[in-house]
Amino acid sequence: CNKDFLNKVNPNLPVEATYWQTESDALAAIPTIYSPIRNQMDGYFGAYSGYQTLNRADDMWFLIGEEPFTWEYVNFLNSAGTAGSNFGDLYKGINRANVFMKNIDRVKMDDGKKKQMIGEVSFLRGMYYFLLAANFGDVPLRLLPAGDDPDGGNKPSSPEADVWKQVIADFKVAKENLPVSRPDGEKGRVTRGAAIAYLGKALVYTKQYPEAETELKALLTAPYNYDLTENFEDNFKETTEFNKESVFELSYDGFLGSGGIWGNDCASCQLGFALPNFCGPAGTGAWFKLVPGISIVRDFVSEERPAGSDTRFDKRMYTSFFWKYSDYETGLTDGSWFGNHDFDWLWHEAQAKMSVNTGLTYPKIGDKAGRFLLKKYTNFYKNEEGANSMYNAANNNNNLRVIRFAEVLLLHAEACIKNGNLQDAITDLKRIRKRAGLNENKTWAGAGELMNEVVRQNELEFFFEGHRFFDLKRWYTPAEMKQIFVTNQKQGANNFQPKHYYLPIPESEINTNTAVQQHTLWR
């Protein structure tokens, strides 16, 4: 027998050495890199773990009795062993990007197209590292597939600052190589605008304001024609996807994939949007896991619209919460949803779960008790019985807008204030306020007041979009943050410690990676 007799190559699927030949091989790799971020279950922006974990700030209230892990995060009782951290999922995206980068040189294809793909993959890797740095701080920086890395699985954490450097470098590559717009057949894939927006966001997060202002400003003019939608609601409906406000949007479709709702990363896995099922109120086919926090209600009602407006409150509040309009204002017809159920019915259904939550009392409005339920990201626009149940694929079709132009405006405003360019900041803020129906002629005495306006508008604009925790972290020290949580009657506020700025590196990593150390604050 010759030596080849013992060389058995796996005949079941192509091995890496013979793959990566054609453009289609390279193109097919890209969806696998998007997948972990958008997984319907356990994806960072999916529903089950990620979206709940990242809404651990004071704008949300998690109802008792839900999965213990979410309860631990929001009450700041989590430990390295608490489930539900998306640490590993984010690294799945990074590994796949690294595999792409390792092999793309071997692919024979048009150079221009190749560069675009490299830009797209750089964007995704930058985004994954962005989310890791924002959530975990110091993390292992992997730019090679672990199997090719001499260290293998064992890799120490890099300082958070180095991770941010990689984030910015990746977004710059993305910016250079991505197209300004995509044809309809490529809708859902990232563009240069998304890269610039994320680059600007990373620069603001790292307090590099002059550069941030420059980058973000580019998105305010041609060739970019982003703008706010007239109706705030259009950012949360499946009928108005990829609108002019959408800078980076994740696609979902409940009809793609026959394998049911619980799987991720598999051929038959459903590609649906499960968030309505998690956040919708009781009685609507949903699991009703959370409601608005106390302070977000207070802050929404604190500034009423100018006299003569068609509604009493901030227009965004009508998309954010369900409530009974006639309790607090006149002239509006009360809404009905999910098969013509009125708010009283919804509120009644919610009581079994809400009533056991001690401390959850919304501020009174006038002499009426505050009664609110979460509306944003439910299927409120479908007046059907049980419309939030994910077991019906038709309910899982909404897209998630990860970066809206509103965020670009507010990030730009923040950078401008820090750079002393108050006028441009005011222009941005007025656009936000105008769409919300608030007084457009408001004036601010100096940078301090303007910054307070940025804080407030971020809170209201991005309620339940997972921004609030990271915004507070950027603006306040841990002690200040704790005080805000206490003042705002956030659940578990008294448990907040400096270490809760970060999530701990999970136990599963600590137990297997001999080189890594837990974040200093968590040791």
Binding site: F5, K8, V15, A146, D184, Y252
Partner: protein, 985 residues
């Protein structure tokens, strides 16, 4: 001198004529063989001595004194003259240096053995044969000297020179089984011998003997020896009501179904074997056929199989060129059910069996009940078969070469398995949903070939005896399979094509593996006093990468026959045999999946672009092993002693060994930050087994009464002695339904040791529960009330959690033993075999599920004795649905039980028909027998059977190394009673 014509008969110890025995005039070349009636005639001189020899039996001598006919009975061979089959040859037992145990055909004649593996059970010290599944046709779990690996611990089987599956061989066809236990004995099989080797030699024919037909048939019944004591419907209702838990809707349920009675039954078993053997001057033959038809004690299960085998030898050129073959075909139909046994025990007795009003016709659980299958419905609505045909072809050619004692042998073996899994389900209502009908079929095709070239040199020169072997072999395994499934088949159809298209699925795979080996062995004996065996084998496996694929496996063994020393002469009358053996060797294990180092493409990770599915595929997202992955190696040191006393009537053999498995092949969890899924196989640690084995047999006769008694006993201490990867020095084991890890592999402890929270009785009042405090005055179990279990706060932190686990034992027995006995008296024979274990623990998860009270299902009748304020003299906690104290917690010694047992495994009573009856029926010999299997078991274990080896995973069970000693609803072992006949024409 006077030349006489000497006539005579040679018989065996049962007085049956022995055809084919060799009769030699001692010191001459004059020899003959006995005819079919055991008779011989030859010429010899008065005063000469005749020597009678027959393989496997003791040699006898008789002096020629006159013209009288000589009748000789040959006794079963003493150990000293036995020939033992070792790898690639045979050796006289007295020259053996390794730890080899052998079971010959005579011992195997126990007709109870439904499988060849079963024939090994309890016979050999250090060999554990235990129950893997219990369903008909399911294999047995065989371990030699403890668990060395966290992967396969199955020994290597060599059937007439071909690597195969022991289940291929009908026990009736076995001439001998040899178990090579230590490294020295097994090293010649290097690569795959780390878990020991079982050599199976099938029966052949005899030269110069006319055809003999043998028939062997039995019929019997199997039954469930033990039933779980469960609540009846009214009892369950009463206790639920008493505790205020009876769902209102349950009141109207009046059925009282005894589910155990409905799913288990007394099942017939029938087996018949026929063989014809004989031989001429230059050839021998043995052709056999067997058929078995066994129903399982679980209704709808069963096994049917037939085997056909032929073994031939041919010799030419004055016996200088020899050829031979074994051809074997086995075709079986195994009908099984994966009914979860715990569903039978937990299904509510209030549920009737049938409900003609719903789809399928079987009642389904009511909304207030725990959602469990209707066991009778499940059995009848699902139809699962494995149809399998195995073909094994072995052929060899052997030629004496020009130097005396030198021969060349070519051995070729081919194994083919083709089969089909068939899984058909009918539509039925389960709860509120309708289950679709389906058909799922998988075809599989396995091919293996083996070529071995060996040179043998065997010479005796004066006091030097040497055997030299050199060989080269190559083998390849290829498995291909494909399957298809569809749903919604119209009734009356039974083919994939009838199913609906939308939910169809297909699959297929191809696996290839190859092995190349070179090997050599030297066996040297000086004056039958000093013995040496040395061997070396080098194996190359396709499972490893170039540069890491070859393993070299050496061994050396020394033996000293003390009784052959001159100085021992005086003692030899008392101590008839005294041999000391010592060996050291290294063996390999490569039992990992193919292609583990190869990075492949993963398909089906999709996204959406432009509103349409965007199919994704990429390489490098699952862990593959590093290219330096290599052989798992087992180093064994063995010392042994063989002794015989009382003129060889008492034989004792004892061995002590240390067996270290290094570079254990194990899937090791990797950091999530690598972003890869799965876990690579790594060479990850060391597992050590130390053990002592003891075997004693005593044979004697009192008048016409012959009797033997044999005892074997073994101990093994298993320990994970090092873990070389990762930062946590332990691996998780048994974790029933993810409810809690109860067994572990931790450094310094046995594989599968149990770590649980200890219990300390029941709190007799709420006050007593609240008074249970730690050193700081914290109430340790704040939610506990009277009747709840008191758990031991092992780490003293004031609360009960998994950090309070402590080691409470392992599934390894401190002692495993077997006692065999046999006697015969004037044609009546009796044989019995007891086996037992002592010091092992069982995790009774089945009982945990029957006694947990938080779900609305049936329970053990023992819960009728639950604690109440007026029934405090009990160890059963209070009957509570909420169970706030978590009395049912899995990580608790409440579910750990002693696995000790003592069992009458088999007993057999036979009667050999007298000669005068036989002649009328033209029978050469005939025997009838009555036998029983699993007649009684003495044990405190509360489950069906304490015999819990590694499970095969059927019936809701759990598989793998860690499944030993865990009862996850294991299929109960049957008690079997049989009647049979054996006859030769």
């Amino acid at each position: 001198q006077q030349v006489l014509q000497v006539k005579g008969t040679v018989r065996d110890k049962n007085n049956n004529p022995l055809p084919g025995a060799t009769v030699t005039v001692k010191g001459t070349t004059t020899a003959t063989q006995t005819d079919e009636n055991g008779n011989f005639i030859l010429n010899a001189e008065k005063g000469q001595t005749l020597e009678f020899t027959y393989t496997g039996l003791q040699t006898a001598e008789a002096s020629i004194t006159g013209t009288n006919t000589i009748t000789v009975s040959l006794n079963e061979g003493s150990q000293m003259d036995e020939v033992v089959v070792i790898g690639y040859g045979t050796i006289k037992k007295k020259d053996l240096t390794g730890a080899v145990a052998s079971v010959t055909g005579k011992d195997l004649q126990s007709n109870l053995a439904k499988s060849a593996a079963g024939a090994l059970q309890g016979r050999i010290a250090g060999v554990s044969v235990s129950n893997a599944g219990g369903t008909p046709g399911a294999g047995l779990s065989i371990n030699i000297r403890g668990l060395g690996s966290l992967r396969s611990n199955a020994p290597l089987y060599v059937i007439d020179g071909v690597f195969g599956d022991i289940n291929l061989v009908d026990p009736n066809d076995i001439a001998s089984l040899e178990v090579l236990k230590d490294a020295s004995a097994a090293a010649i099989y290097g690569s795959r011998a780390a878990n020991g080797v079982v050599i199976v030699t099938t029966k052949g024919g005899r030269k110069n003997s006319p055809a003999v037909i043998g028939i062997n048939a039995f019929t019997g019944v199997q039954s469930l020896p033990k039933k779980m004591d469960l609540m009846s419907g009214p009892q369950w209702k009463a206790i639920e009501k008493e505790n205020g838990l009876l769902p209102a809707q349950a009141e109207s349920f009046m059925a009282n179904t005894n589910w155990q009675n409905e799913v288990f039954h007394t099942a017939p078993i029938n087996k018949v074997n026929l063989d014809v053997s004989g031989g001429g001057e230059r050839s021998t033959y043995n052709v056999s056929a067997g058929y078995m038809d066994q129903d399982g004690i679980l209704k709808t299960t069963g096994y049917k199989a037939f085997t056909i085998r032929t073994k031939n030898t041919f010799s030419f050129f004055n016996d200088h060129f020899r050829m031979g073959n074994t051809f074997l075909i086995k075709s079986g139909d195994r009908k099984y059910s994966d009914l979860t046994i715990t569903d039978v025990l937990r299904q509510n007795a209030l549920l009737p069996i049938y409900d003609p009003a719903i789809l399928g016709g079987y009642a389904t659980y009511a909304p207030w009940m725990k959602n469990l299958e209707n066991p009778v419905g499940f059995l009848n609505l699902h139809n699962k078969h494995v149809y399998q045909t195995d073909i094994m072809l072995n052929g060899y050619a052997e030629a004496d070469l020009f130097i005396k004692g030198l021969k060349y042998r070519l051995n070729v073996g081919i194994n083919r398995t083709t089969g089909r899994n068939y899984d058909r389900g009918l539509a039925y209502t389960y709860g509120t949903a309708n289950q679709q009908s389906y058909l799922n079929e998988n075809a599989f095709f396995n091919n293996q070939w083996l070529i071995e070239n060996t040179l043998h040199y065997d010479r005796t020169l004066n006091k030097h005896t040497i055997h030299v072997l050199a060989g080269y072999s190559a083998q390849e395994n290829t498995s291909r399979g494909f399957g298809a499934s569809r749903k919604d088949l119209p009734s009356g159809t039974d083919a994939i094509n009838a199913g609906a298209l939308p939910d169809q699925s297909t699959s297929g795979s191809l696996q290839e593996a190859a092995l190349i080996s070179q090997f050599g062995r030297l066996v040297y004996s000086y004056d039958s006093r000093y013995l040496l065996t040395a061997s070396l084998r080098r194996d190359g496996s396709s499972k490893f990468e170039d540069g890491h694929r070859y393993g070299v496996f050496p061994s050396i063994a020394l033996g000293w026959n003390v009784m052959n020393e001159r100085f021992f002469e005086a003692a030899k009358n008392t101590v008839n045999e005294l041999k000391v053996r010592a060996s050291y060797g290294r063996l390999g294990n490569q039992e990992i999946p193919n292609y583990t180092t190869q990075n492949i493409t993963t398909y089906g990770i999709n996204y959406i672009q432009g509103g349409k599915l965007w199919p994704g595929s990429i390489t490098g997202i699952n862990w593959v092993s590093r290219p330096d992955l290599t052989w798992e190696e087992t180093v064994t040191s063995n010392i042994g002693l063989d002794l015989a006393f009382l003129r060889n009537k008492l034989n004792i053999s004892a061995d002590y060994y240390i067996r270290d498995t290094r570079g254990v092949l194990l899937n090791i969890n990797q950091p999530p930050s690598t972003g890869l899924t799965g876990s690579p196989v790594m060479n990850a640690g060391t597992i050590s087994n130390k053990g002592f084995e003891f075997l004693a047999t005593y044979r004697n006769a009192v008048g016409a009464l012959n009797y033997t008694i044999g005892v074997n006993a073994s101990t093994v201490k298993n320990e994970v002695s090092a873990v070389t990867v990762g930062t946590v020095q332990q691996f998780e084991g048994f974790n029933p339904r993810g409810e809690g890890v109860v067994s572990w592999a931790k450094v310094g402890y046995p594989i599968g040791g149990f770590w649980v929270i200890k219990t300390d009785g029941l709190f007799q009042s709420d006050a007593e529960a609240q008074a249970y405090k730690d050193a700081n005055g914290n109430v340790i179990q704040p939610k506990a009330r009277g009747g709840d279990i008191k758990f031991v706060d092992f780490n003293g932190d004031g609360r009960i959690d998994n950090n309070d686990r402590q080691y409470v034992g392992s599934p390894f027995p401190k002692l495993a033993y077997g006692i065999r006995g046999g006697l015969d008296y004037k044609g009546v024979d009796l044989a019995f075999f007891f086996d037992g274990m002592y010091g092992n623990k069982i995790y009774n998860y089945t009982r945990a599920r029957m006694e947990q009270t938080n779900e609305v299902n049936n329970h053990s009748a023992s819960l009728l004795n639950s604690w109440t304020p007026s029934n405090t003299n009990t160890d059963i906690p209070r009957y509570t649905r909420e169970d706030p104290n978590d009395n049912k917690r899995r990580v608790s010694d409440r579910w750990i039980e002693s696995g000790a047992f003592f069992r009458l495994k088999t007993v057999e009573l036979g009667y050999t028909l007298p000669k005068q009856w036989l002649s009328k029926a033209t029978l050469k010999n005939g025997r009838i027998f009555l036998a029983a299997d699993n007649l009684f078991t003495a044990t405190k274990y509360k489950g069906y059977t304490p015999d819990l080896g590694q499970s095969n995973g059927e019936n809701g069970d759990y598989t793998g190394v860690f499944s030993a000693g865990t009862d996850y609803g294991r299929f109960p072992l049957a008690r079997t009673i049989m009647f049979g006949i054996q006859a030769n024409f």
